[in-house]
Symmetry: C2
Subunit: 331 residues, 2 copies
């Protein structure tokens, strides 16, 4: 910067003004001289210094539990589009549902003074999250709310969506409906289970505890649970899988066992899959407004940065059932 100043015959302060946002405080001829000098010298402002001066960076962190999950990449897309529009860059960080990696990610983002963080948390790092807020880093919870920490959040009405999916199965005549659940400590998993239960209650159907499973949000969990369910003396005639990855596991297990879908078993999944229509058979799902979730999350973040004292806002979006071929009347 000093070099540019020397070449343009002005002070560094003027160079700064000319090259940063304050261009209107600089006379036209000086502006021109500075820009030319910068170009000739191949000068590039150092954001590191700029940010350090400002005390914050133009970065949003998006902490997700699985980059490989289309759900999160769609969210990332939405968030990135909004962030970019407002001059922020999006840093994606993958935790693999591992609290330690999540803690590391958060540490980096806080240390790097991210302007804001969007997080689908494992809910094991309450303190780190609390600290980030205390340090003035804006925080938005995505998909899962944060236990005991009221923050802006964007989520889907999980209970309602699950209720819709299971009611669809009940309407088709199914009464032995299994649920491939998520981790017990995941908010989303619990809410979806509640929707499953409510649908049963409303139809005056008893829930057989044997058909209620609990695991991870991974394909392997869907695979293992479905195998167990099929080995039952009185196996389910329908399966509701609470996560897109577990759904894939379910389908694999059914195929492996030679079960025809939906003749032998109906399947409805929570959250869509890019190739859902091309599967054999096309998969019935509850679709979540993933892109919109990302958009909303980034917008909440920006609002929070602009108005740090604004009241906490909890956005609740709704999912909708997409009936394709994997659900049918009970045999």
């Amino acid at each position: 910067m000093a070099d540019v100043a020397a070449r343009a015959g002005v002070s560094v302060a003027t160079v700064s003004r000319a090259l940063s946002g304050e261009g209107r405080l600089v006379s036209a001829p000086v502006m021109e001289r500075v820009q030319e000098a910068a170009r000739e010298l191949g000068y590039h402002p150092n954001n590191l210094a700029r940010n350090m001066r400002a005390g914050t960076s133009r970065i949003f962190g998006l902490v997700i539990s699985d980059v490989g999950n289309p759900f999160f990449t769609a969210v990332a897309r939405g968030a990135e589009d909004v962030a970019h529009r407002h001059g922020y860059s999006l840093v994606l960080s993958n935790t693999d549902e591992n609290p330690e990696r999540e803690a590391t990610s958060l540490g980096v983002m806080i240390a790097e003074r991210a302007a804001g963080i969007m997080i689908a948390t494992t809910n094991e790092n309450g303190e780190a999250l609390r600290r980030s807020i205390a340090m003035g880093t804006a925080l938005v919870a995505i998909d899962r709310r944060i236990h005991g920490l009221p923050t802006d959040s964007v989520a889907v009405d999980n209970e309602g969506a699950a209720h819709e999916a299971v009611s669809h199965l009940i309407r088709l005549g199914h009464s032995r409906i299994a649920i491939i659940g998520g981790p017990r400590d995941a908010h989303t998993a619990r809410e979806r289970l509640r929707g499953y239960e409510r649908a049963h209650r409303e139809a005056r159907l008893a829930v057989d505890p044997v058909l209620v499973t609990e695991g991870t949000f991974r394909e392997t969990a869907g695979l293992a649970h479905t195998r167990e369910l099929l080995a039952l003396a009185d196996p389910p005639t329908a399966i509701f899988s609470v996560n897109n990855l577990t759904t894939i596991g379910v389908l694999r297990a059914l195929r492996e066992a030679g079960c025809r879908v939906p003749r032998d078993v109906s399947v409805v999944g929570f959250d869509d899959i890019p190739t859902a229509e091309l599967l054999d058979p096309p998969l019935t799902v509850v679709r979540q407004p993933t892109y919109r979730m990302g958009v909303q999350a980034a917008e909440l973040l920006i609002r929070r940065i602009l108005e740090p004292a604004a009241p906490v806002q909890e956005v609740l979006l709704t999912g909708n059932l997409v009936v394709r071929g994997s659900t049918g009347p009970r045999a």
Copy 2:
């Protein structure tokens, strides 16, 4: 930091030494006092300042053209695992194959003084890339080499893999084989086309130019081209699709036209899809070692940072054909 120093009764320099890497220069009791003071005060080092001092950050940028593509998320996983192990964070940036967004991404990473950049480039930003190298930012090309700029790179033997896929079709008796190509200016697309041509040449089969299409790496391109191909007087009996997303478009078009796969048309795709085995029929593909590409890219970056003058290294991995159900003998 000054507060911590005051509380621990030492100088800021000592605090710095105690809390950063130079712990061995500090006596045990002082070390303890400093750490306690830091904890009590909730002190978090400001990486912004640290990096500015160091002139570089502990960040790797990964610039990809499509976060929604499982190919890139798998690469990201590999790169992130290696980066993390070496104390770097991975910043993902999505360009949507848009040169302007790519330029912006690069600008941010250079300005942010990323320690290194891994990029699957559109090849429209040669100057920005050149500059990043000139500024000392390590650079590794992923998937696609950079025109006229020798850099470390990780890629797949596209021609060989395409050759294998098309030869497989030829062996099944097909002679009218269409290729759903990528953008003309994408290195990868050209190489895969060459593999397609070589397979024909070796089998003494003529290539019908009508069957050679060219488009984008998007689902819509596969859809549109396949529709056109099916409308031909003498349509192909097999289709080789050079990208996983276009392959999905191909399958959609075939389903829409009521074509049975592989009875009416065989399909082989380049690059695997997570649900490939569950599709109807299961999809035959050339699989790329995606995770390993990410690992290698990050390793090349680290090597380059450690040894800036090391000779350029171009890593070439090989794909392998996975035969599933979408290819069969000519009707």
